[in-house]
Protein backbone atom coordinates (compact mmCIF):
# COMPACT_ATOMS: atom_id res chain seq x y z
CA UNK A 1 0.00 0.00 0.00
CA UNK A 2 1.48 3.35 -1.02
CA UNK A 3 0.68 6.61 0.74
CA UNK A 4 3.50 8.61 -0.86
CA UNK A 5 2.51 11.37 -3.27
CA UNK A 6 4.35 13.67 -5.65
CA UNK A 7 3.49 17.39 -5.64
CA UNK A 8 5.47 18.75 -8.59
CA UNK A 9 9.06 18.49 -7.41
CA UNK A 10 7.99 17.82 -3.83
CA UNK A 11 7.90 14.21 -2.67
CA UNK A 12 5.72 13.57 0.38
CA UNK A 13 5.80 10.27 2.29
CA UNK A 14 2.06 10.63 2.80
CA UNK A 15 -0.56 13.17 1.74
CA UNK A 16 -0.96 14.86 5.15
CA UNK A 17 0.55 18.25 5.87
CA UNK A 18 0.01 20.57 8.81
CA UNK A 19 -1.51 23.83 7.57
CA UNK A 20 0.20 27.16 8.05
CA UNK A 21 -0.74 29.04 11.20
CA UNK A 22 -2.13 25.97 12.96
CA UNK A 23 1.07 24.11 13.81
CA UNK A 24 3.44 26.89 14.86
CA UNK A 25 6.88 26.09 13.52
CA UNK A 26 6.42 22.37 14.17
CA UNK A 27 8.80 22.26 17.12
CA UNK A 28 5.99 23.18 19.53
CA UNK A 29 4.66 19.65 18.98
CA UNK A 30 8.00 17.92 19.64
CA UNK A 31 7.52 15.07 22.05
CA UNK A 32 3.73 15.35 21.88
CA UNK A 33 3.50 13.53 18.58
CA UNK A 34 6.07 12.00 16.25
CA UNK A 35 6.65 14.74 13.68
CA UNK A 36 7.95 12.08 11.26
CA UNK A 37 4.35 10.86 10.96
CA UNK A 38 3.52 13.93 8.89
CA UNK A 39 3.99 14.14 5.15
CA UNK A 40 4.96 17.74 5.72
CA UNK A 41 4.76 20.78 7.96
CA UNK A 42 3.85 24.22 6.62
CA UNK A 43 5.32 26.90 8.87
CA UNK A 44 3.47 29.82 10.36
CA UNK A 45 3.58 32.75 7.89
CA UNK A 46 7.00 34.40 7.82
CA UNK A 47 8.00 37.93 6.85
CA UNK A 48 11.54 39.27 6.79
CA UNK A 49 11.21 40.48 10.39
CA UNK A 50 9.37 39.46 13.55
CA UNK A 51 5.81 40.80 13.96
CA UNK A 52 3.47 41.41 16.88
CA UNK A 53 0.28 40.64 14.94
CA UNK A 54 -3.21 41.91 15.81
CA UNK A 55 -4.53 43.09 19.17
CA UNK A 56 -6.60 40.69 21.29
CA UNK A 57 -9.23 39.25 21.18
CA UNK A 58 -7.92 37.34 18.20
CA UNK A 59 -10.04 34.23 18.18
CA UNK A 60 -13.71 33.47 18.61
CA UNK A 61 -15.50 30.14 18.24
CA UNK A 62 -18.39 29.83 15.81
CA UNK A 63 -20.63 26.82 15.10
CA UNK A 64 -18.13 24.06 14.15
CA UNK A 65 -15.63 26.75 13.31
CA UNK A 66 -13.14 29.29 14.44
CA UNK A 67 -12.89 32.93 13.41
CA UNK A 68 -9.39 34.30 13.82
CA UNK A 69 -7.49 37.50 13.25
CA UNK A 70 -3.98 36.75 14.48
CA UNK A 71 -2.40 39.04 11.91
CA UNK A 72 0.65 36.90 11.18
CA UNK A 73 2.49 37.29 14.49
CA UNK A 74 5.78 35.57 13.81
CA UNK A 75 9.50 35.30 14.39
CA UNK A 76 10.66 36.30 10.90
CA UNK A 77 12.37 34.15 8.27
CA UNK A 78 15.94 34.62 9.54
CA UNK A 79 15.13 33.37 13.05
CA UNK A 80 13.26 30.46 11.49
CA UNK A 81 16.23 29.42 9.34
CA UNK A 82 18.71 29.89 12.18
CA UNK A 83 16.81 28.52 15.20
CA UNK A 84 14.02 26.27 13.96
CA UNK A 85 15.28 24.51 10.82
CA UNK A 86 18.12 22.69 12.61
CA UNK A 87 15.63 21.31 15.12
CA UNK A 88 13.30 20.08 12.37
CA UNK A 89 16.17 18.38 10.51
CA UNK A 90 15.99 15.31 12.74
CA UNK A 91 12.47 14.46 11.54
CA UNK A 92 11.58 12.66 8.34
CA UNK A 93 9.03 15.20 7.12
CA UNK A 94 8.96 17.87 4.40
CA UNK A 95 9.36 21.39 5.73
CA UNK A 96 7.40 23.99 3.76
CA UNK A 97 7.92 27.67 4.52
CA UNK A 98 4.88 29.95 4.28
CA UNK A 99 6.20 33.12 2.63
CA UNK A 100 4.63 36.52 3.41
CA UNK A 101 5.36 40.08 2.37
CA UNK A 102 4.05 43.63 2.49
CA UNK A 103 5.50 44.15 -0.98
CA UNK A 104 6.43 42.00 -3.98
CA UNK A 105 10.07 42.66 -3.14
CA UNK A 106 9.63 41.38 0.42
CA UNK A 107 8.03 38.13 -0.82
CA UNK A 108 11.02 37.60 -3.11
CA UNK A 109 13.53 38.38 -0.35
CA UNK A 110 11.85 36.04 2.13
CA UNK A 111 11.79 33.35 -0.58
CA UNK A 112 15.52 33.81 -1.22
CA UNK A 113 16.34 33.40 2.49
CA UNK A 114 13.91 30.49 2.86
CA UNK A 115 15.70 28.63 0.07
CA UNK A 116 17.91 26.95 2.66
CA UNK A 117 19.01 23.36 3.29
CA UNK A 118 16.16 21.50 4.99
CA UNK A 119 13.37 23.45 3.28
CA UNK A 120 11.41 21.34 0.79
CA UNK A 121 9.06 23.92 -0.72
CA UNK A 122 7.61 27.40 -0.36
CA UNK A 123 3.95 28.19 0.13
CA UNK A 124 3.12 31.73 -0.96
CA UNK A 125 0.67 33.47 1.35
CA UNK A 126 -1.42 35.65 -0.93
CA UNK A 127 -4.60 35.02 1.00
CA UNK A 128 -4.31 36.08 4.65
CA UNK A 129 -7.43 38.17 5.35
CA UNK A 130 -6.03 39.70 8.55
CA UNK A 131 -3.32 42.07 7.42
CA UNK A 132 -3.71 45.55 5.94
CA UNK A 133 -1.01 45.12 3.30
CA UNK A 134 0.01 41.97 1.38
CA UNK A 135 -2.04 38.84 2.00
CA UNK A 136 -5.41 39.02 0.32
CA UNK A 137 -4.55 42.35 -1.28
CA UNK A 138 -2.39 40.26 -3.64
CA UNK A 139 -4.56 37.15 -3.71
CA UNK A 140 -7.71 39.10 -4.53
CA UNK A 141 -6.38 40.49 -7.82
CA UNK A 142 -5.28 38.09 -10.60
CA UNK A 143 -2.60 40.45 -11.95
CA UNK A 144 -1.08 40.99 -8.50
CA UNK A 145 -1.27 37.23 -7.90
CA UNK A 146 0.67 36.67 -11.11
CA UNK A 147 3.24 39.30 -10.17
CA UNK A 148 3.91 37.94 -6.65
CA UNK A 149 4.08 34.31 -7.75
CA UNK A 150 6.43 35.22 -10.63
CA UNK A 151 8.70 37.10 -8.25
CA UNK A 152 8.86 34.17 -5.83
CA UNK A 153 9.37 31.80 -8.77
CA UNK A 154 12.43 33.79 -9.85
CA UNK A 155 13.82 33.91 -6.31
CA UNK A 156 13.98 30.18 -5.63
CA UNK A 157 14.66 26.74 -7.08
CA UNK A 158 12.23 25.19 -4.60
CA UNK A 159 8.70 24.15 -5.53
CA UNK A 160 6.39 27.20 -5.27
CA UNK A 161 2.88 26.66 -3.90
CA UNK A 162 0.60 29.72 -3.77
CA UNK A 163 -2.20 29.47 -1.20
CA UNK A 164 -5.43 30.71 -2.74
CA UNK A 165 -8.12 32.80 -1.12
CA UNK A 166 -11.74 31.65 -1.16
CA UNK A 167 -12.83 35.29 -0.95
CA UNK A 168 -13.04 35.71 -4.73
CA UNK A 169 -15.80 35.25 -7.28
CA UNK A 170 -14.03 32.64 -9.40
CA UNK A 171 -11.13 30.72 -7.90
CA UNK A 172 -10.19 29.19 -11.27
CA UNK A 173 -9.03 32.60 -12.55
CA UNK A 174 -6.51 32.75 -9.70
CA UNK A 175 -5.51 29.11 -10.09
CA UNK A 176 -4.66 29.74 -13.76
CA UNK A 177 -2.80 32.96 -12.95
CA UNK A 178 -0.60 31.01 -10.54
CA UNK A 179 0.00 28.23 -13.05
CA UNK A 180 1.00 30.75 -15.71
CA UNK A 181 3.37 32.44 -13.26
CA UNK A 182 5.24 29.18 -12.78
CA UNK A 183 3.66 27.73 -9.64
CA UNK A 184 4.32 24.02 -9.04
CA UNK A 185 1.15 23.39 -7.06
CA UNK A 186 -1.69 25.23 -5.28
CA UNK A 187 -3.03 25.19 -1.73
CA UNK A 188 -6.81 25.58 -1.67
CA UNK A 189 -8.15 27.32 0.45
CA UNK A 190 -7.26 29.91 3.05
CA UNK A 191 -9.94 31.09 5.53
CA UNK A 192 -13.24 32.70 4.57
CA UNK A 193 -13.70 36.30 5.58
CA UNK A 194 -16.16 36.50 8.46
CA UNK A 195 -17.58 38.78 11.15
CA UNK A 196 -18.97 37.98 14.59
CA UNK A 197 -20.84 40.74 16.42
CA UNK A 198 -21.04 41.23 20.19
CA UNK A 199 -24.68 42.31 20.35
CA UNK A 200 -24.54 43.74 23.87
CA UNK A 201 -21.68 46.10 23.09
CA UNK A 202 -22.47 46.32 19.36
CA UNK A 203 -18.86 45.85 18.35
CA UNK A 204 -17.03 43.06 16.52
CA UNK A 205 -15.93 40.23 18.80
CA UNK A 206 -12.43 40.38 17.27
CA UNK A 207 -10.17 43.36 17.88
CA UNK A 208 -9.25 43.47 14.17
CA UNK A 209 -12.97 43.55 13.26
CA UNK A 210 -13.28 40.85 10.62
CA UNK A 211 -11.43 37.55 10.69
CA UNK A 212 -10.82 34.34 8.79
CA UNK A 213 -13.22 31.44 9.31
CA UNK A 214 -11.80 27.92 9.49
CA UNK A 215 -12.85 24.52 10.74
CA UNK A 216 -15.48 21.96 9.72
CA UNK A 217 -17.95 24.80 9.07
CA UNK A 218 -16.14 25.70 5.85
CA UNK A 219 -15.31 22.18 4.62
CA UNK A 220 -17.96 21.84 1.88
CA UNK A 221 -16.90 25.19 0.43
CA UNK A 222 -13.25 24.18 0.57
CA UNK A 223 -13.90 20.84 -1.12
CA UNK A 224 -15.90 22.59 -3.84
CA UNK A 225 -13.22 25.22 -4.48
CA UNK A 226 -10.35 22.71 -4.43
CA UNK A 227 -12.35 20.60 -6.89
CA UNK A 228 -12.87 23.62 -9.17
CA UNK A 229 -9.19 24.55 -9.01
CA UNK A 230 -8.06 21.00 -9.68
CA UNK A 231 -10.19 20.92 -12.86
CA UNK A 232 -8.86 24.27 -14.03
CA UNK A 233 -5.10 23.61 -13.93
CA UNK A 234 -2.60 20.84 -14.68
CA UNK A 235 -0.50 21.43 -11.55
CA UNK A 236 -1.41 19.49 -8.36
CA UNK A 237 -3.78 20.95 -5.79
CA UNK A 238 -3.41 20.54 -2.02
CA UNK A 239 -6.81 20.66 -0.33
CA UNK A 240 -7.30 22.43 2.99
CA UNK A 241 -10.35 23.43 5.01
CA UNK A 242 -12.01 21.77 7.99
CA UNK A 243 -10.40 18.32 7.91
CA UNK A 244 -10.90 16.43 11.19
CA UNK A 245 -10.73 12.77 10.12
CA UNK A 246 -9.79 10.38 7.31
CA UNK A 247 -13.19 10.70 5.66
CA UNK A 248 -12.79 14.48 5.46
CA UNK A 249 -9.32 14.08 3.91
CA UNK A 250 -10.68 11.56 1.41
CA UNK A 251 -13.33 14.02 0.23
CA UNK A 252 -10.58 16.40 -0.92
CA UNK A 253 -8.50 13.60 -2.46
CA UNK A 254 -11.46 12.14 -4.37
CA UNK A 255 -12.40 15.66 -5.52
CA UNK A 256 -8.99 15.88 -7.18
CA UNK A 257 -6.45 17.01 -4.56
CA UNK A 258 -3.07 15.26 -4.52
CA UNK A 259 -2.54 16.00 -0.83
CA UNK A 260 -4.32 17.74 2.04
CA UNK A 261 -3.53 20.02 4.96
CA UNK A 262 -4.96 19.70 8.43
CA UNK A 263 -5.57 23.09 10.06
CA UNK A 264 -7.88 24.00 12.93
CA UNK A 265 -8.03 20.36 14.06
CA UNK A 266 -4.38 20.65 15.18
CA UNK A 267 -5.58 22.91 17.99
CA UNK A 268 -8.12 20.33 19.07
CA UNK A 269 -6.22 17.05 18.98
CA UNK A 270 -2.48 16.64 18.36
CA UNK A 271 -3.15 12.92 17.86
CA UNK A 272 -5.03 13.57 14.63
CA UNK A 273 -2.29 12.55 12.15
CA UNK A 274 -1.99 9.00 13.49
CA UNK A 275 -5.78 8.65 13.36
CA UNK A 276 -6.12 10.00 9.80
CA UNK A 277 -3.26 7.84 8.48
CA UNK A 278 -4.82 4.77 10.03
CA UNK A 279 -8.14 5.70 8.43
CA UNK A 280 -6.60 6.25 5.00
CA UNK A 281 -4.89 2.85 5.11
CA UNK A 282 -8.09 1.17 6.23
CA UNK A 283 -9.92 2.85 3.32
CA UNK A 284 -7.36 1.65 0.76
CA UNK A 285 -7.61 -1.90 2.15
CA UNK A 286 -11.39 -1.85 2.15
CA UNK A 287 -11.51 -0.62 -1.46
CA UNK A 288 -8.64 -2.90 -2.53
CA UNK A 289 -6.55 0.01 -3.80
CA UNK A 290 -2.76 -0.05 -4.07
CA UNK A 291 -2.00 3.62 -3.74
CA UNK A 292 -3.49 6.84 -2.49
CA UNK A 293 -2.99 8.11 -6.06
CA UNK A 294 -5.75 5.70 -7.12
CA UNK A 295 -8.16 7.75 -5.06
CA UNK A 296 -7.11 11.17 -6.36
CA UNK A 297 -9.65 12.69 -8.72
CA UNK A 298 -11.88 9.62 -8.68
CA UNK A 299 -15.05 11.64 -8.13
CA UNK A 300 -17.94 10.48 -10.34
CA UNK A 301 -21.22 12.23 -11.11
CA UNK A 302 -23.69 9.35 -11.48
CA UNK A 303 -26.43 11.61 -12.83
CA UNK A 304 -24.31 12.70 -15.78
CA UNK A 305 -21.39 15.01 -16.31
CA UNK A 306 -20.46 17.68 -13.82
CA UNK A 307 -21.24 21.24 -14.88
CA UNK A 308 -18.41 22.36 -17.14
CA UNK A 309 -17.94 25.72 -15.45
CA UNK A 310 -19.71 25.84 -12.10
CA UNK A 311 -20.73 29.40 -11.35
CA UNK A 312 -20.81 30.77 -7.83
Amino acid sequence: MRLAVQIGGLRLKNPLLAASGTFGYGVEYEGILDLSLLGGIVSKGLYLDARDGCAVPRIVETPSGLLNAIGLQGIGIRAFVKDVLPRLARYDTAVVVNVCGDTVEEYAEVARIADAPGVAALEVNISCPNVKKGGMAFGGDPRMTHEVVSAVRKATRLPVIPKLSPNVTDVTVFARACEEAGADALSCINTLLGLVVDVERRVPRLAFGTGGLSGPAIRPIAVRMAWQAARAVRIPVIGVGGITCAEDALQFLIAGCRAVQVGTANFVDPGIYARILEGLEAYLRRHRLESIDDVVGSLRFPEGEAPAEPRP
Binding site: T22, F23, G24, Y25, V27, E28, Y29, E30, G31, I32, L33, K44, D52, G53, V56, P57, R58, I59, V60, E61, P63, S64, G65, L66, N68, I70, Q73, I75, A79, D83, V84, G215, P216, T244, T264, N266, F267, V268, D269, P270, G271
Partner: protein
Protein backbone atom coordinates in the same frame (compact mmCIF):
# COMPACT_ATOMS: atom_id res chain seq x y z
CA UNK B 1 11.87 31.13 19.70
CA UNK B 2 8.75 32.65 21.12
CA UNK B 3 8.16 29.81 23.52
CA UNK B 4 9.96 28.39 26.54
CA UNK B 5 9.87 24.68 27.31
CA UNK B 6 7.49 23.61 30.06
CA UNK B 7 9.23 23.36 33.40
CA UNK B 8 7.91 19.98 34.51
CA UNK B 9 11.39 18.48 34.09
CA UNK B 10 11.21 19.64 30.44
CA UNK B 11 8.97 16.74 29.65
CA UNK B 12 6.39 17.44 26.99
CA UNK B 13 2.69 17.24 27.84
CA UNK B 14 0.90 14.01 27.02
CA UNK B 15 -2.17 13.81 24.79
CA UNK B 16 -4.61 10.99 25.54
CA UNK B 17 -8.25 10.02 25.76
CA UNK B 18 -9.08 10.10 29.44
CA UNK B 19 -11.99 8.24 31.04
CA UNK B 20 -14.01 10.02 33.70
CA UNK B 21 -13.43 8.14 36.94
CA UNK B 22 -15.58 10.10 39.33
CA UNK B 23 -18.15 12.87 39.17
CA UNK B 24 -19.09 14.79 42.32
CA UNK B 25 -21.72 17.45 41.78
CA UNK B 26 -21.57 20.43 44.12
CA UNK B 27 -24.20 23.11 44.52
CA UNK B 28 -25.34 25.17 41.55
CA UNK B 29 -23.37 24.69 38.32
CA UNK B 30 -20.24 23.46 40.12
CA UNK B 31 -18.85 19.96 39.84
CA UNK B 32 -15.68 17.99 40.63
CA UNK B 33 -14.49 15.73 37.81
CA UNK B 34 -11.77 13.11 38.22
CA UNK B 35 -10.06 11.69 35.12
CA UNK B 36 -7.45 8.98 34.64
CA UNK B 37 -4.27 10.47 33.14
CA UNK B 38 -1.14 8.95 34.73
CA UNK B 39 1.29 11.56 33.39
CA UNK B 40 -0.78 14.51 34.59
CA UNK B 41 -1.23 12.76 37.95
CA UNK B 42 2.49 12.20 38.27
CA UNK B 43 3.95 15.45 36.96
CA UNK B 44 1.43 18.25 37.38
CA UNK B 45 2.37 21.18 39.54
CA UNK B 46 0.08 23.82 40.96
CA UNK B 47 -0.84 26.47 38.41
CA UNK B 48 -0.54 24.09 35.46
CA UNK B 49 -3.57 23.15 33.43
CA UNK B 50 -5.02 20.68 30.95
CA UNK B 51 -6.82 21.26 27.65
CA UNK B 52 -9.87 19.01 27.58
CA UNK B 53 -13.09 18.51 25.63
CA UNK B 54 -15.95 16.09 26.13
CA UNK B 55 -16.59 13.78 23.19
CA UNK B 56 -15.70 14.29 19.54
CA UNK B 57 -18.41 16.70 18.40
CA UNK B 58 -17.21 19.73 16.46
CA UNK B 59 -19.52 22.24 18.12
CA UNK B 60 -17.96 23.72 20.17
CA UNK B 61 -14.80 22.83 18.34
CA UNK B 62 -12.01 23.61 20.78
CA UNK B 63 -10.84 22.03 24.00
CA UNK B 64 -11.03 24.19 27.12
CA UNK B 65 -8.26 25.03 29.60
CA UNK B 66 -8.81 24.07 33.23
CA UNK B 67 -6.48 24.44 36.20
CA UNK B 68 -5.52 21.14 37.78
CA UNK B 69 -7.14 21.15 41.22
CA UNK B 70 -5.54 18.03 42.66
CA UNK B 71 -3.72 14.87 41.66
CA UNK B 72 -3.41 11.34 42.96
CA UNK B 73 -0.25 9.80 41.47
CA UNK B 74 -0.94 6.38 42.98
CA UNK B 75 -4.36 6.13 41.34
CA UNK B 76 -3.08 7.92 38.21
CA UNK B 77 -5.90 10.45 38.33
CA UNK B 78 -6.37 14.22 38.49
CA UNK B 79 -9.37 16.31 39.49
CA UNK B 80 -10.88 19.46 38.00
CA UNK B 81 -13.19 21.90 39.73
CA UNK B 82 -15.42 23.49 37.18
CA UNK B 83 -18.47 25.63 36.77
CA UNK B 84 -20.69 24.86 33.80
CA UNK B 85 -20.95 28.26 32.14
CA UNK B 86 -21.01 27.54 28.41
CA UNK B 87 -21.47 24.63 26.01
CA UNK B 88 -17.89 23.34 26.47
CA UNK B 89 -17.88 23.23 30.25
CA UNK B 90 -21.51 22.03 30.33
CA UNK B 91 -20.67 19.00 28.14
CA UNK B 92 -17.82 18.17 30.53
CA UNK B 93 -20.02 18.64 33.59
CA UNK B 94 -22.54 16.19 32.14
CA UNK B 95 -20.03 13.38 31.46
CA UNK B 96 -20.78 9.97 32.97
CA UNK B 97 -18.10 7.79 34.56
CA UNK B 98 -16.33 5.73 31.89
CA UNK B 99 -16.95 8.26 29.10
CA UNK B 100 -13.76 9.52 27.46
CA UNK B 101 -12.50 13.01 26.68
CA UNK B 102 -9.51 14.17 24.67
CA UNK B 103 -7.02 15.67 27.11
CA UNK B 104 -3.58 17.25 26.82
CA UNK B 105 -1.43 18.07 29.84
CA UNK B 106 0.13 19.06 32.08
CA UNK B 107 0.59 22.46 30.39
CA UNK B 108 2.06 25.83 31.27
CA UNK B 109 4.29 27.35 33.90
CA UNK B 110 3.38 26.55 37.52
CA UNK B 111 3.49 28.75 40.61
CA UNK B 112 6.94 28.79 42.19
CA UNK B 113 7.29 28.37 45.93
CA UNK B 114 8.16 31.44 48.02
CA UNK B 115 11.52 31.87 49.79
CA UNK B 116 11.77 29.80 52.96
CA UNK B 117 11.02 32.64 55.37
CA UNK B 118 7.99 33.88 53.36
CA UNK B 119 4.36 33.19 54.03
CA UNK B 120 2.43 32.43 50.83
CA UNK B 121 -0.76 34.46 50.54
CA UNK B 122 -3.01 32.77 48.00
CA UNK B 123 -5.81 34.96 46.66
CA UNK B 124 -8.63 33.24 44.78
CA UNK B 125 -11.71 34.62 43.07
CA UNK B 126 -14.54 32.22 42.14
CA UNK B 127 -13.33 29.11 40.35
CA UNK B 128 -9.81 30.56 40.52
CA UNK B 129 -9.61 28.64 43.81
CA UNK B 130 -8.85 25.37 41.99
CA UNK B 131 -5.02 25.55 41.68
CA UNK B 132 -4.67 26.51 45.34
CA UNK B 133 -5.79 23.06 46.47
CA UNK B 134 -2.73 21.56 44.80
CA UNK B 135 -0.57 24.55 45.75
CA UNK B 136 -1.37 24.42 49.47
CA UNK B 137 -0.48 20.73 49.34
CA UNK B 138 2.86 21.53 47.69
CA UNK B 139 3.54 24.29 50.20
CA UNK B 140 2.76 22.03 53.14
CA UNK B 141 5.24 19.45 51.84
CA UNK B 142 7.85 22.16 51.24
CA UNK B 143 7.25 23.32 54.83
CA UNK B 144 6.13 26.79 53.79
CA UNK B 145 3.46 28.71 55.62
CA UNK B 146 0.35 29.39 53.55
CA UNK B 147 -2.83 31.41 53.97
CA UNK B 148 -5.65 31.11 51.44
CA UNK B 149 -8.16 33.91 50.73
CA UNK B 150 -11.29 32.87 48.81
CA UNK B 151 -13.67 35.47 47.42
CA UNK B 152 -16.92 35.46 45.46
CA UNK B 153 -20.05 37.50 44.92
CA UNK B 154 -22.01 35.36 47.40
CA UNK B 155 -21.54 32.26 49.52
CA UNK B 156 -23.08 30.12 46.77
CA UNK B 157 -19.98 30.82 44.70
CA UNK B 158 -17.62 29.54 47.39
CA UNK B 159 -18.18 25.89 46.55
CA UNK B 160 -14.64 24.60 47.08
CA UNK B 161 -14.15 25.05 50.82
CA UNK B 162 -14.00 21.37 51.85
CA UNK B 163 -10.46 20.63 50.55
CA UNK B 164 -9.16 23.41 52.82
CA UNK B 165 -10.89 22.11 55.98
CA UNK B 166 -7.59 21.04 57.56
CA UNK B 167 -5.78 24.24 56.57
CA UNK B 168 -4.11 26.14 59.39
CA UNK B 169 -4.64 29.09 59.59
CA UNK B 170 -8.17 28.44 58.28
CA UNK B 171 -9.45 29.51 54.87
CA UNK B 172 -10.31 33.24 54.85
CA UNK B 173 -13.50 33.83 52.86
CA UNK B 174 -14.91 37.07 51.48
CA UNK B 175 -18.21 37.80 49.74
CA UNK B 176 -19.31 40.94 47.96
CA UNK B 177 -22.79 40.67 49.51
CA UNK B 178 -21.54 39.81 52.99
CA UNK B 179 -23.33 36.44 53.00
CA UNK B 180 -20.17 34.70 54.27
CA UNK B 181 -16.85 35.78 55.75
CA UNK B 182 -15.38 39.22 55.14
CA UNK B 183 -17.96 41.64 53.68
CA UNK B 184 -16.34 43.02 50.53
CA UNK B 185 -13.86 42.11 47.86
CA UNK B 186 -11.27 39.47 48.66
CA UNK B 187 -8.36 41.85 48.09
CA UNK B 188 -9.81 43.97 50.92
CA UNK B 189 -9.38 40.99 53.25
CA UNK B 190 -5.82 40.54 52.01
CA UNK B 191 -5.03 44.24 52.57
CA UNK B 192 -6.46 44.02 56.09
CA UNK B 193 -4.19 41.08 56.83
CA UNK B 194 -1.17 42.93 55.42
CA UNK B 195 -2.02 45.84 57.73
CA UNK B 196 -1.28 43.53 60.68
CA UNK B 197 2.39 43.53 59.53
CA UNK B 198 2.71 39.76 59.20
CA UNK B 199 6.37 39.64 58.12
CA UNK B 200 7.65 38.69 54.64
CA UNK B 201 4.97 37.41 52.25
CA UNK B 202 4.62 36.42 48.61
CA UNK B 203 1.26 36.90 46.90
CA UNK B 204 -0.31 34.36 44.56
CA UNK B 205 -3.50 35.08 42.67
CA UNK B 206 -5.94 33.27 40.40
CA UNK B 207 -9.36 34.63 39.47
CA UNK B 208 -11.07 37.29 37.37
CA UNK B 209 -8.89 39.91 35.64
CA UNK B 210 -10.10 42.75 37.88
CA UNK B 211 -9.06 40.80 40.97
CA UNK B 212 -5.67 39.91 39.49
CA UNK B 213 -5.07 43.55 38.65
CA UNK B 214 -6.07 44.56 42.19
CA UNK B 215 -3.59 42.04 43.62
CA UNK B 216 -0.88 43.38 41.30
CA UNK B 217 -1.59 46.95 42.49
CA UNK B 218 -1.55 45.82 46.12
CA UNK B 219 1.78 44.07 45.53
CA UNK B 220 3.20 47.19 43.93
CA UNK B 221 2.01 49.53 46.71
CA UNK B 222 3.42 47.30 49.42
CA UNK B 223 6.47 46.24 47.45
CA UNK B 224 5.64 42.55 47.63
CA UNK B 225 6.49 39.81 45.15
CA UNK B 226 3.38 38.48 43.40
CA UNK B 227 2.60 35.73 40.92
CA UNK B 228 -0.66 35.94 38.99
CA UNK B 229 -2.33 33.21 36.95
CA UNK B 230 -3.85 34.80 33.86
CA UNK B 231 -6.89 33.33 32.15
CA UNK B 232 -7.19 34.79 28.66
CA UNK B 233 -9.20 33.07 25.97
CA UNK B 234 -7.14 30.03 24.95
CA UNK B 235 -7.33 27.87 21.82
CA UNK B 236 -4.66 25.18 21.79
CA UNK B 237 -2.51 25.21 24.96
CA UNK B 238 0.70 24.77 22.97
CA UNK B 239 1.56 28.26 21.74
CA UNK B 240 0.53 27.65 18.16
CA UNK B 241 -2.87 29.33 17.76
CA UNK B 242 -1.52 32.57 19.27
CA UNK B 243 -5.00 33.40 20.55
CA UNK B 244 -4.08 33.76 24.24
CA UNK B 245 -1.26 36.29 23.93
CA UNK B 246 -0.77 38.88 26.68
CA UNK B 247 1.57 41.88 26.83
CA UNK B 248 4.51 40.89 29.02
CA UNK B 249 7.64 42.92 29.66
CA UNK B 250 10.39 40.84 31.26
CA UNK B 251 12.66 42.52 33.76
CA UNK B 252 15.55 43.00 31.32
CA UNK B 253 13.45 44.16 28.36
CA UNK B 254 12.80 47.69 27.15
CA UNK B 255 9.63 46.82 25.31
CA UNK B 256 6.67 44.53 26.05
CA UNK B 257 6.04 41.53 23.81
CA UNK B 258 2.94 39.51 23.05
CA UNK B 259 3.56 36.21 24.82
CA UNK B 260 1.42 33.09 24.94
CA UNK B 261 -0.27 32.66 28.31
CA UNK B 262 -0.47 28.93 27.60
CA UNK B 263 3.26 28.26 27.30
CA UNK B 264 4.99 31.21 28.98
CA UNK B 265 2.22 31.48 31.59
CA UNK B 266 -0.45 31.18 32.77
CA UNK B 267 1.52 32.17 35.88
CA UNK B 268 3.49 35.40 35.47
CA UNK B 269 5.34 37.72 37.79
CA UNK B 270 2.76 40.48 38.39
CA UNK B 271 5.37 43.17 37.66
CA UNK B 272 5.90 41.80 34.16
CA UNK B 273 2.25 41.99 33.14
CA UNK B 274 1.22 45.07 31.15
CA UNK B 275 -2.31 45.52 32.49
CA UNK B 276 -5.00 46.59 30.01
Amino acid sequence: MATRPATSAHRPPVNRDVPLVRREPLEGAYVLLTFRHPEVAERARAGQFVMIKAGTVTDPILRRPFSIMSVDPREGVFTLFLKAVGPGSRALAELRPGEESGCLGPLGQPFTAPPEDHEALCVAGGYGIAPFVLFSDELRRARRRARVFYGGRAVAELQLRAPFAALEPPLACATDDGSFGHHGVVTGAVAAYLDTRPGPVTLYACGPDAMLHAVARLAEERRLPAQVSLDPWMGCGLGTCLGCVVWIRRENETRAKYRCACTEGPVFDAREVVWA
